[in-house]
Amino acid sequence: MGHTDVIFTVVHFDVVAALAYLVAGVFFILALRGLSSPATSQRGNRFGMIGMTIAVVTTLVTHQLASLAEIAIAIAIGGAIGWITARRIKMTDMPQLVAAFHSLVGMAAVLVGWAAYLNPIAFGIAGPDGVIETQSRVELGLGIAIGAITFSGSVIAFLKLAGKMSGAPIMLPLRHVINLGTVAAILALVGWFTQDQGFWVIAAITALSFLIGFLLIIPIGGADMPVVVSMLNSYSGWAAAAMGFTLHNTAMIITGALVGSSGAILSYIMCRAMNRSFLSVIAGGFGVDAAAAGGEAKEQRPWKRGSAEDAAFLLGEAENVIIIPGYGMAVAQAQHVLREMGDQLKARGVSVKYAIHPVAGRMPGHMNVLLAEANVPYDEVFELEDINSEFGQCDVAFIIGANDVVNPAAKTDKASPIYGMPVFDVEKAKTIMFIKRSMGGVGYAGVDNDVFYMDQTMMLLADAKKMVEDIVKALAH
């Protein structure tokens, strides 16, 4: 007796663990499914937490717990840092927080890859002689490479988003040749790794991958960040999936695939909203050439300046107002006072709606979060395609901190760098109010905007928050 029983128990235990990981994976699917509506989203988030708990507990009970105390301390340290950061972070800083979190996933993947390389027997990817299986070497090499790219790319994205590094594209000469060469070298080294399990091979893969992540992101400008953040989100998923292949773990594979496709879809949505191909965003440098071209074509055209009192009067008399927020609103932190203005107008019987362009802000859904933070009900906030037909019946289009997304050149001027980008039809509104710091800056794409000079346009030149505060005061009288 004994021997067969033990084997049975072990097999049985493995099956239970595999099933538990599968259940965790299903909970992760339900977590994303919950986000289809704000009403079910909190429940979705809880499903995510349940899935994670199942995955962690399963791993702990199926492995020897020699170092449980150390593990508990590690989780406590990390958990405390994460929880406190999440409590304290300002909503306007959300893009850089997400970038920072992406970098951690990338780094964790690199560390796990290295740990598996140094102790392959514990991960079940090598025989007793310590020689790693060929297939596992490919998975390990790719996992480390993707993790390292996610890490260094996200660090650059974080620095750019947090303003600790210039958001302007940094262009190296011959960068496409350097980038393609580096990628080819990484793939060649992964091939080499299948033949030679040597330390320097995996070290070289790691070093070159850190380098390429850095090189890929530095030429990409600030307003292309929604694509970059989505792309890095996708990479962090593929890194987790690659590690899942190494560990034969279904929870990691399912999650990796979910996160990978999620990031890829968001990147696609962002690119489509700018009418640019993914490759042209990755190639970088947008806004540099255009700014130079726009500079020459500029001419003096008449425009009208309005005061906060003028704006308050017209807004008060209006029936339908559509507010279009952009990144400038986030910079000026004007979302709260903007909601106050909306409340005052609603109290006077004015219909107020918010219109959000997919690429407004620095990450997908950035404006929605800021408006939600300011207590704007989500059923007053509309997406581009849902509201664009309403500008014809709109009395005031109120543009705050947006520019390129209302530029009619995207519809008419084939030479414009933003031609083909879907934009709001603000020119159909009876009155356009355009809050802008000065007449100088011309948006990210560096192109002049005909809306400034239209007969029905009133330019409100001031800091966005200050101007809206003044309008609120004037409305109160």
């Binding site: 994303l32 986000l35 704000p38 150390e70 990390g78 140094l118 899942g244 009900p377």
Partner: protein, 93 residues
């Protein structure tokens, strides 16, 4: 599990991800990124295996460091998602 079974799960999960993510409302794209961030830290499973295993001290320490990083993400990611989602409210009148 053999490679083909794992690959099948992966490919199917990509399709599930594709359809599930398209159904996410654009208003929740930022929480989507935050929560995907949190769940991709399931990589902590690998970190725990490394931390728990004997045989290599360096592997164990790398594993523990990865546990710290992944925990930052798990707790931070779920907490920030929940904080954001709590702000989305319907009109109350």
């Amino acid at each position: 599990m053999d490679f083909i079974s794992i690959l099948s799960i992966f490919v199917m999960a990509c399709f599930v991800g594709y359809y599930v993510v398209w159904s996410v409302t654009p208003a929740l794209h930022t929480p989507l990124m935050a929560v995907t961030n949190a769940i991709s830290s399931v990589i902590i499973v690998g970190a725990l295996i490394a931390s728990a295993a004997g045989g290599s001290a360096s592997s164990k320490w790398l594993g523990l460091l990865a546990v710290v990083l992944a925990s930052v993400n798990i707790f931070g990611g779920f907490a920030v998602t929940s904080r954001m989602l709590a702000m989305y409210k319907k009109k109350d009148r």
